[in-house]
């Protein structure tokens, strides 16, 4: 019992916060590429921070409920219809067995998050259900495959979890049509780039290249950077800005490799990565400098709000699905 997938869309992936503790073996963390939108979807249902949910790229998903429960939809607006009636953005809503949820294509942004009360049930592999296609890990079949037609997303029945809909306050809902100002901490080989290259990076208007994916957002600018050289590969993480010899930066994202050999200019604020991930191809992006202390303080605020929130109004996944 759960949600039956009628149309999977071009790339819909089961995700949770990610596969931690295995990076020394080359295993990518994976997880939602837009952490805020994903965290809000679970938060609106009082789910645990770790609750598995669906990341829907571009839209095109159609599903039918087999149980009465509550869903929450955040991220890119996709003109969602519940039995033909519009669903409010960044909100939770109830769905009854037999009802159909249809998502059109993203009107702005790139990815939506669909959470279900209590989370989607799936068997973790290396501690996580997060789908990583290239590594062949996670997902419903544990082999890294995206959702396909006929799949079932197992979840509990929770008809009475809430008595009313609730949405995120407007100030938390980004306008994905704007060109984001992404905050960056200079670091890694940043000093060796020198002040002139750093200034060029912050002054340039960068554009998202079409071949960007969950592994990295490739940027192009009129004036490429001139990177220093780096001889030995070293550990990298999501948010790392690598600059290959041709001078066009790559921002590593959720599915990134664990080690890299390109010179590193700095690190995108973890809370700005999601905004970058929502930019479609050719979208303009600007970068502004950030201080590490401020970034850490904001991260702590974010984690304590979302990780400590779960009130347990939704019946917990454990025990109720035997």
């Amino acid at each position: 019992m759960g949600l039956k997938i009628i149309k999977p869309g071009p790339l819909s992936l089961l995700q949770d916060p990610g596969r931690f503790g295995w990076r020394h073996l080359g295993v990518s963390v994976s997880g939602p590429i837009d952490l805020q939108a994903a965290a809000w979807a679970n938060h609106l249902l009082d789910n645990r921070w770790e609750a598995p949910l669906l990341e829907i790229a571009l839209g095109g998903v159609e599903l039918e409920a087999e149980v009465d429960t509550w869903l929450a939809l955040t991220g890119a607006p996709m003109g969602a219809l519940l039995d033909g009636r519009p669903v409010p953005a960044w909100s939770r809503f109830s769905i009854k067995a037999g009802q159909t949820l249809k998502l059109g294509f993203a009107q702005s942004g790139q990815r939506a998050y669909l959470a279900v009360c209590g989370g989607i049930t799936a068997t973790p592999i290396l501690g996580s259900v997060a789908t990583h296609r290239r590594d062949g890990l996670g997902g419903l079949q544990h082999n890294g495959q995206p959702l396909k037609a006929g799949d079932h997303l197992p979840c509990i029945a929770a008809p009475d979890a809430f008595d009313q809909t609730r949405g995120a306050a407007g100030r938390f809902i980004p306008d994905y049509r704007e060109a984001p100002r992404v905050r960056l901490i200079i670091g890694g080989d940043g000093e060796r780039f020198g002040p002139e290259q750093q200034a060029r990076f912050f002054e340039n208007t960068w554009h998202v290249q079409p071949q960007s994916d969950r592994m990295g957002i490739r940027l192009s600018g009129k004036v490429p950077l001139v990177p220093p050289t780096r001889q030995w590969s070293l550990g990298v993480l999501a948010g790392t800005v690598q600059v290959p010899p041709q001078g066009q930066p790559i921002v590593l994202m959720a599915d990134c490799q664990t080690m890299g050999g390109y010179p590193v200019l700095g690190f995108v604020h973890p809370l700005d990565l999601g905004r970058l991930a929502q930019c479609p191809a050719h979208h303009a992006v600007h970068f502004i400098p950030a201080e590490l202390g401020t970034v850490q303080a904001e991260l702590r605020q974010f984690y304590s709000f979302f990780k400590n929130h779960a009130l347990g109004l939704c019946p917990s996944q454990e025990g109720s699905l035997v």
Binding site: R23, H24, L25, G26, L126, D135, G136, I185, G235, L237
Partner: protein, 229 residues
């Protein structure tokens, strides 16, 4: 000279030497063990490189100055230890069927006979400097100077799982079929990554590796499945 610097908001990069050294991977593995004891559950991931160790830590437990204060004494103690104090390095003997698609071009580029290439590659004992790029992909060093070549000008679309390959001063084994830009000398039937196994990867940074030349029948008998045209 040891450097400690923030690497983004949630990680700390330790640079432990300017260039890789013979015993360094084993020493870094030892430091990783010491740090994981000292940091407990504030430690999320520890990623060794040839000269570096990346510490991914929980910002809910430590700020930058706090994590630095925890890490510093561990590094100082480690730095004062003798060079002999490394994690006990296991030796893995990995059978290789030397029949890779680049064997002849490597021989030609290095002005060697094919047999010499095989001999130079399998004669040496290597160290696992790091595991990365893909799950279970080991970077092994250092390769004999006479086999040093740059990466392929244009990477192959598909490199077979188990391919034993070289580039620059390193050699490696591809755990799964993937695109790749290294020169493939041969094939190993070893499974380098299995998420269901404990541990998922038989190799660890700091371990020693030796390649043993075997014939195709032995390779096939061990389950090797490489096939290429």
């Amino acid at each position: 000279m040891i450097r400690i610097e923030p690497f983004g908001a949630e990680a700390l990069m330790l640079t432990l030497a300017d260039t890789p050294k013979e015993r360094l991977p084993g020493r870094i593995a030892q430091l990783a063990d010491n740090l994981s004891q000292a940091l407990g559950d504030a430690l999320i991931d520890l990623v060794p490189g040839w000269t570096t160790l990346l510490i991914h830590y929980d910002v809910m437990q430590y700020s930058l100055s706090e994590i630095q204060a925890r890490v510093m004494p561990v590094i100082e103690d480690w730095h004062q230890e003798s060079d002999d104090l490394e994690r006990v390095a296991r030796l893995h003997e990995i059978p290789v069927w030397y029949a890779g698609p680049d064997l002849e071009s490597v021989a030609k580029a290095c002005s060697l006979a094919v047999e010499q290439v095989i001999d130079l590659h399998s004669r040496r004992e290597y160290r696992v400097g790091a595991i990365g790029f893909a799950p279970g992909f080991p970077y092994l060093g250092e390769l004999d100077e006479r086999l040093v070549l740059p990466r392929l000008a244009s990477p192959r679309v598909r490199v077979e799982a188990g391919s034993v390959a070289i580039a620059e001063r390193q050699t490696a084994i591809y755990p799964q079929a993937s695109p790749g830009g290294w020169h493939v000398l041969g094939f190993s039937a070893w499974r380098l990554f299995d998420p269901q196994a404990e541990p998922p990867c038989p190799l660890a940074a700091g371990d020693r590796v030796r390649f043993i030349a075997v014939d195709e029948a032995t390779y096939r008998a061990e389950g090797g499945q490489a096939a290429w045209d």
